[in-house]
């Protein structure tokens, strides 16, 4: 990598930095590998570019720079980043999180006897400011990102629609019951039964809507089960290494090799399970966690020797702390994508098995509807009953499509670079810092289209 290029990039704060990377090698298009990108583009910066000030200024130099300012000026200087023209990078950082000023004041001349590590910042955010920033960073920024990307937006809208269908929908639609209407009324023929009726006169709309809550419960329970178990096995095996890794991986590989749906079928018939959606959800994904654990482990292997993980290890942090604090946050995009994909797998599996009639059920659901359509009305061969089959099928496809789109959008939400660009508090502060430094003449670029790469399922 070209040395001068890199210096330019480093002197500019976060936002323009990613621009530098892009112009430099054009490689910044795939967003799943955020750690790598930062490492390659930003030189020696750990995630997020947060620590560039630290990396560039050894503690000594830091102190010198700050010592120039008399005590009283300090708070003003923070409030007005433009005063920092000669220590260009610092203000942007301090303004972002409010605690970057830790330890700085101690260097002022040693009037206090507290070590610089214990010194608290003399500027702090009020609670309200903190809350606002938290809201902006954690909720509004993701929401804005989601809204900016058509895939994530449609995904969220579709899933939201199903959630509403499973809650509010129950109040709007009458409960399904036999002889609600005529037998086998086609879809889109009458206003009363927009999706048609079954061979016993049950409205398909009512059935579809009333099946939603149990389906959503099943989907959620299966996905949560898989993701928790998969993340646990994957991170522990990948991070610990050695014997623990070997043992966990043998277990994982065995589970992974057993075919999922047949195992579910056999267990469902041998165990005397009831039709509770939560149990069925877990049963459907009984060994799906193994594949996820394998994939997460290989991701962890690339992280376990990263500098910041090593730092935590040297500081004597416990393994659970390192895994939950350093490893899992980096895997969140991946885990979220898998959560959504697992949700889709649960729909496919459960509906398929209900369609075959091998799972117990308490209430009607989309798979049971398909089963009834084929077995009771011969929907595959008789056009008159075909809508009975089509309605649940389209319901499944639409939900699965929404989840797929959501998975692609999740990728963006968790990408720190995209996220920083959308958080207003962060962006504002950075603008101040940039203006003060004067080293970045180009205007911050808007989100570019090539940044929304969501592939890599």
């Amino acid at each position: 990598m070209n040395r001068t290029d890199r210096d330019d990039c480093q002197s500019a704060p976060d936002r323009s930095q990613s621009d530098c990377e892009r112009s430099e090698n054009g490689s910044n298009r795939h967003s799943t590998d955020a750690p790598e990108d930062v490492a390659s583009g930003g030189g020696d910066q750990p995630v997020g570019g947060y620590a560039d000030a630290v990396a560039d200024h050894p503690v000594g130099g830091y102190a010198d720079a700050v010592a120039d300012h008399p005590d009283g000026d300090y708070a003003d200087a923070v409030a007005d980043p433009n005063k920092f023209t000669d220590e260009e990078r610092d203000p942007g950082r301090s303004a972002i999180s409010g605690h970057a000023a830790n330890g700085r004041v101690a260097a002022d001349g040693g009037s206090s006897s507290v070590s610089e590590f214990q010194q608290m910042a003399d500027v702090s955010m009020t609670d309200a400011e903190r809350r606002r920033q938290w809201l902006d960073e954690k909720i509004l920024a993701p929401a804005r990102i989601v809204w900016d990307d058509w895939r994530a937006r449609s995904g969220v809208l579709i899933v939201l629609f199903y959630l509403l269908m499973g809650t509010v929908g129950l109040m709007l639609v009458t409960k399904p019951s036999p002889n609600q209407g005529g037998y086998l009324v086609g879809a889109l023929r009458t206003l009363e039964y927009p999706l048609g009726t079954t061979a016993s006169g049950v409205s398909l709309l009512s059935q579809t809507v009333y099946a939603t809550p149990s389906m959503l419960t099943m989907i959620a329970s299966g996905a949560v089960f898989t993701v928790c178990l998969g993340t646990f096995f994957g991170t522990v095996a990948g991070y610990k290494g050695g014997t623990i890794d070997s043992v966990l991986m043998v277990v994982t590989d065995i589970m992974m090799t057993i075919p999922g749906l047949p195992l579910t079928i056999v267990l469902a018939s041998a165990l005397d399970i009831k039709g509770s959606p939560v149990v069925i959800g877990v049963l459907i994904t009984i060994n799906a966690w193994a594949g996820l654990a394998r994939a997460i482990r290989s991701q962890v292997l690339t992280l376990r020797d990263a500098e910041y993980v090593e730092a935590s290890r040297i500081m004597g942090m416990s393994t659970p702390t390192i895994i939950s604090g350093d490893i899992i946050p980096n895997l969140m995009p991946y885990i979220t994508m898998n959560f959504v994909q697992q949700a889709r797998a649960v729909i496919f599996g459960s509906v398929g098995l209900y369609f075959l009639g091998v799972l117990p059920y308490n209430s009607v659901n989309w798979g049971v509807m398909m089963n009834a359509a084929v077995n009771r009305a011969g929907a595959t061969s008789s056009p008159a009953a075909f809508h009975w089959l089509l309605v649940p099928m389209l319901t499944i496809i639409a939900l699965a499509l929404g989840l797929t789109l959501l998975a692609q959008g999740a990728d963006r939400i968790f990408n720190p670079r995209v996220r920083a660009r959308h958080a207003e508090t962060v962006v504002d502060d950075e603008d101040g810092g940039t203006g003060g430094s004067g080293s970045n003449p180009t205007a911050p670029s808007p989100v570019t289209a090539d940044d929304d790469e969501g592939g890599g399922i």
Binding site: M1, T243, P262, A270, T319, T380, I397, E453
Partner: protein
């Protein structure tokens, strides 16, 4: 070499665990299969059957001699299983091995063809999409890929069978081949096999390739931006060499684990597809066994599907080393 041995040992262990688990499921569950088989035997034989006759009957069906101590039962069961004796089907009255053994090649034929088609088509399409990133072709393919990726195979199968099978009568709606043909290596028979297998295979492959294409596209785009690719171009390597050796190889690698999981998905999906098309493969018999509460058939089917999958995954795992030489090194990592 030790890598290969270790992998094989693990495959054997998997099969062992699955067979043991099947013993556990049949034998140990209260009110489970054994109780059902006993009541069935009493019903069929009437009251004149003595207890020992009933036990003998169950032993023939499940390889479990109920009056022996548990470890003897387990030992006998495992020995019988390893000899390929999966007991007697209660529904068909034939040895399970005979039924499942004749069905397994057909299931493997369906799944392997479907997986191969989906993977090759998906990977090539994904690579093309990556090279033409942002074009109309890319956008259209991404859209199609997304929709196909969100469609379960059995939905496609149901649409196929009702339109192409029943309404237009272009394709058969059941069976492995036309019954009047002589089985063997002759033209009409092979054609008939392909003709009967076409819809099941297509419905499995069609929903699979979208996912492969999308992930291949993402991986290729990432690889295309790598520094080593720039170096390769500067060295003046031919486009073809870059595309095959540099881009394709590195983009496919991360998908290999996915391929192993996909083997399982396809086998599982085949259970549903085979039932829709009334295609007598292992999955078809598995469901027949379930519906008739024919536990020997069910367990036999499950074990055979697992063994087939273990073999598939072992092969995939061992060939991974050829694709990625780094994988052979083994793990000599420090443990924390």
């Amino acid at each position: 070499m030790s890598h290969v041995l270790k992998r094989l040992a693990q495959s054997v262990l998997t099969v062992y665990v699955v067979i043991s688990a099947s013993f556990g499921l049949i034998r140990l569950l209260p009110g489970g299969p054994l109780a059902y088989l006993r009541s069935q035997a009493i019903q069929q034989g009437g009251s004149d059957l003595s207890m020992s006759e009933i036990n003998a009957r169950i032993a023939a069906q499940t390889n479990i001699a109920v009056n022996e101590p548990l470890y003897v039962q387990y030992y006998d069961y495992m020995v019988a299983m390893l000899q390929g004796d999966f007991g007697q089907s209660t529904r068909y009255g034939e040895p399970v091995m005979q039924i499942i053994g004749s069905a397994i090649p057909w299931t493997v034929f369906l799944t392997a063809t479907a997986l191969f088609l989906a993977f090759t088509v998906g990977v090539s399409l994904g690579a093309f999409m990556a090279y033409r990133e942002g074009s109309n072709f890319d956008l259209a393919s991404t859209g199609v890929g997304l929709v196909l990726n969100s469609t379960p195979g059995y939905v496609v199968a149901l649409l196929f069978i009702s339109y192409l099978g029943y309404r237009m009568e272009v394709f058969p709606t059941g069976g492995r081949y036309a019954s009047e043909l002589t089985v063997g290596f002759n033209g009409p028979f092979l054609l008939s096999v392909l003709y009967h297998g076409a819809l099941p295979i297509t419905s499995m492959a069609l929903v699979g390739f979208g996912g492969w294409a999308l992930s291949m596209r993402g991986n290729s785009i990432r690889v295309l931006g790598e520094d080593y690719l720039r170096v390769a171009r500067l060295r003046g390597l031919s486009t073809r060499r870059i595309a095959m050796r540099y881009v394709a190889r590195n983009a496919i690698l991360p998908m290999y684990t996915g391929l192993m999981i996909a083997i399982g998905t396809v086998f599982g999906g085949a259970v549903i597809i085979e039932n829709i098309f009334a295609y007598p493969g292992v999955g078809f018999y598995l469901i027949q066994g379930i519906n008739a509460r024919d536990y020997p058939l069910m367990m036999g089917g499950f074990i055979i599907i697992t063994i087939a999958m273990v073999i598939g995954i072992t092969i995939a795992d061992l060939t991974y080393g050829i694709l990625d030489p780094r994988a052979k090194g083994g793990s000599s990592r420090e443990s924390y």
